[in-house]
């Protein structure tokens, strides 16, 4: 038995084994068509350029690449990241950036520097599950703000503020939301930015997918609308590769000062090697070419998934129509529990993420997240068909039980 059972911190209480994770252990086997993980299709990257970037980092800059770096991150990379953000209309100064181990560590640092136990923070419902796990370590209370096809329902947040709720910050993924697949409309963005500025509540804008737009015009980032009140989180995971673990925080001097110290406390600095590989990759050519490759692949897969859903799924299911990103968010009739259903789905060799994972209060049992980014198009059709067959059988079972 674990001799430290009674010694663990209160914040570690939620860190437990879970049945859903156990099912994913089965779902990761090759014969399972997985719509579960949001893994980028890194094979679409220009391989020669990646190899050249790695060569330069090691052969020409090895003395730097293999050494410790500063906690804020390598200046050369920060300068490149400024150009990455400029592509989305975000103006930034490299001094106002901290490089993190993916945007995931940025979320942890935000939690660390803002949240005391019991503090209220506002999140979207559903919310990115990694955001929940990062923040939950700091023992917040959650204000769940519902979403619709135009993203966060800002009116609901406004009502909560009128009721007297005062969240420490508002966390949002405005573009091609994970898991909901929707994008916050311009009108909502204006309203959110104004509301939060007036109330003195900072916005944490997490924008991993913004550049993966398949159609339509980009909507301005929240950061560009109010640089003083929006802390922006970026990542190279979706525009380059998640394996380099490069993310960042863009914020004002007070935030950045604390974030650097928090970053140093956590890991001294991000891997200097992958920082330099990333810097060289971004310098070797227009990174948007690689993004264009990604967008082509993901758009075709999104189309395949929407077509498959339209063809195979029962009429009483609904789903979002993402204009970018990785995810379709499906709502099935309320009698289904997608957490249980995952066991039967895995038996049929198809996997997804059950909706309950995305709500701190455990709701969302009639939802499922389907990632279209990784499976090939023909597998997407087959996987959706398997899920549809399962839903049809479950519906019959429900009727036979008198439902």
């Amino acid at each position: 038995m674990d001799p430290f059972t009674n010694l663990y911190a209160e914040r570690a209480r939620g860190m437990s084994a879970s049945a859903v994770r156990a099912l994913f252990a089965v779902a990761s086997r090759p014969e399972v068509i997985s719509f579960a993980g949001g893994s980028p299709y890194v094979r679409a990257l220009p391989q020669e350029r990646v190899m050249e970037a790695a060569r330069i980092a090691i052969q020409e800059r090895g003395d730097v690449a293999l050494q410790y770096g500063g906690g804020q991150g390598h200046l050369g990379l920060r300068e490149q990241l400024v150009t990455v953000m400029a592509a989305e209309g975000v103006a930034a100064d490299p001094d106002h950036l901290v490089i993190t181990e993916g945007a995931q560590q940025a979320l942890d640092i935000i939690g660390k520097i803002f949240v005391d136990p019991g503090d209220l923070i506002a999140i979207e419902a559903p919310c990115y599950v990694g955001g929940l796990s990062a923040f939950s370590t700091y023992q917040p209370r959650y204000l769940q703000v519902p979403m619709d096809d135009d993203g966060m329902i800002v009116e609901a947040l406004e009502e909560a503020l009128i009721r007297g709720e005062r969240p420490k910050f508002v966390y949002t993924v405005p573009n091609f939301h994970n898991p909901a697949g929707v994008t916050m409309s311009y009108e909502r963005r204006v309203r959110l930015v104004n509301l939060c500025r007036e109330a003195g509540i900072p916005i944490i804008e997490d924008n991993p997918y913004g550049m993966l737009r398949f159609e339509g015009d980009p909507v301005p980032t929240l950061r560009s609308m109010d640089p003083d009140n929006v802390i922006y989180l970026g990542t190279l995971s979706k525009v380059f590769a998640p394996g380099v673990r490069i993310g960042w925080i863009l914020g004002g001097p007070g935030v950045i000062q604390r974030a650097i110290l928090a970053k140093e406390a956590a890991s001294l600095c991000s891997s200097h090697l992958t920082q330099l590989v990333s810097e060289e990759y971004l310098k070797l050519g227009d990174f948007r070419e690689g993004v264009g490759e990604f967008v082509g692949v993901y758009r075709a897969r999104r189309d395949a998934m929407l077509h498959a859903l339209q063809t195979h799924f029962p009429a009483d299911a609904t789903w979002t129509h993402p204009a970018g990103g990785f995810y379709v968010w499906v709502t099935v009739p309320a009698q289904f529990d997608t957490s249980d259903l995952l066991a039967a789905a895995v038996e049929r060799r198809v996997a997804y993420v059950p909706g309950a994972a995305f709500y701190p209060d455990g709701s969302g049992r009639d939802k499922m997240r389907l990632a279209f980014c990784y499976a090939a198009e023909k597998d997407i059709d087959e996987g959706v068909r398997r899920l549809a067959d399962l839903l049809a059988e479950e519906a019959e079972l429900y009727r036979s039980l008198g439902g």
Binding site: M1, D2, F4, T5, N6, Y8, M15, S16, A17, S18, A19, R21, A22, L23, A25, V26, R29, Q335, D337, D340, L341, L342, A343, A344, V346, E394, E396, L397, Y398, R399, S400, L401, G402, G403
Partner: protein
């Protein structure tokens, strides 16, 4: 000796099985065996078994294929000595409905139950009789997938009206479910070892969250265990007797774990038996054997010896 440890596989308990298997493999290696972990889900099993010149197979698979007699039948065909119970008895023990029939026939107390199968619902319109299940069992109910382990898919039903939803949920894990009267009392596991099998000290299970679900089973510290269980001498003896009787009734061999509930009157009710008990850090058989003075390495060695003794 060259020993293949089978673990992993495609069952829903794959992850738990890998934890069990790695520990068993390490323990056997520490005892001087050439122990190799084989995962049936990661390559052709028959080839691996035949090319490895193994003298024995330790079955650390859990769930479907590993505990239902399937892998045991294959091992018989390959004439490889393997740990634990023979195929048919595995098949019976793994199916909670069949196992309960066998227990009842042998006079072992098991909570009253009913079976609801997908076939009966679909093809016989059995749903119209679902209300009678609740009437007959009278009380709080537990719904369990008829086949499967680690409490995956187990649902507690407080009100009869919630039964259909619980049946639906549990049926995602198996094509039939057991609806069982919930016995209130103390949760106890009795592991059995040897030929003839002897009960190890009963382990009392006190999940901090109240329910011994998947998280409570496999998160260190989420459940408190007491060995021996904090029951009177009489109740402890009754648990051991019931577990032994159940082991014999199902025709199990060498090693198994019986899960029981002891009611307010000190009467044990046998819920089920597991032919490939968990061997993880938080599992019950290793805990019981440790309490009996047999550390994990010796437990694994003993299970293997039982197999070899029979083969010789």
């Amino acid at each position: 000796m060259r020993v293949a440890v089978l673990a992993g596989g495609p069952s829903l308990e794959r992850e738990v099985s890998l934890l069990s298997g790695h520990r068993v493999q390490a323990a056997l290696a520490a005892s001087g065996h050439q122990a190799v972990l084989l995962d049936p889900a990661s390559g052709p099993l028959v080839e691996a078994l035949e090319s490895g010149e193994y003298e024995a197979v330790y079955v650390a698979l859990h769930g479907k294929l590993g505990e239902d007699g399937t892998v045991q039948r294959l091992l018989e065909l390959l004439r490889l000595p393997y740990t634990g119970t023979r195929p048919f008895a595995c098949q019976v023990a793994f199916d909670k409905g069949l196992a309960k029939e066998a227990l009842l026939a042998a006079g072992v107390d098991t909570p009253p139950w009913a079976i609801v199968s997908q076939a009966a619902l679909r093809d016989l319109g059995a749903g119209a009789a679902i209300g009678r299940v609740a009437d007959r069992l009278d009380g709080r109910l537990v719904v369990k997938p008829a086949r499967g382990g680690s409490a995956l898919g187990v649902k507690f039903v407080e009100r009869p009206g919630d039964l259909p939803a619980a049946v639906m949920g549990a049926m995602a894990y198996a094509d039939a479910v057991v609806v069982e009267r919930r016995i209130e009392g103390t949760e106890v596991a009795v592991s059995l070892l040897g030929d003839p099998a002897e009960p190890l000290p009963p382990v009392e299970i006190v999940p901090k969250g109240g329910v011994f679900d998947y998280a409570a089973r496999y998160t260190a510290g989420a459940t408190e265990y007491f060995v021996p269980a904090r029951l009177g001498e009489e109740a402890l003896a009754a648990c051991s007797d019931a577990a032994g009787a159940a082991f014999r009734a199902l025709g199990l061999r060498d090693v198994a774990r019986a899960d029981l509930m002891v009611d307010g009157d000190g009467r044990p009710w046998v819920l089920e038996l597991n032919v490939s008990p968990g061997m993880t850090e938080t599992s019950l058989l290793p805990l019981a054997s440790q309490a009996a003075g047999m550390p994990f390495e010796r437990l694994c060695e003993r299970v293997l010896d039982l197999t070899l003794a029979r083969d010789a």
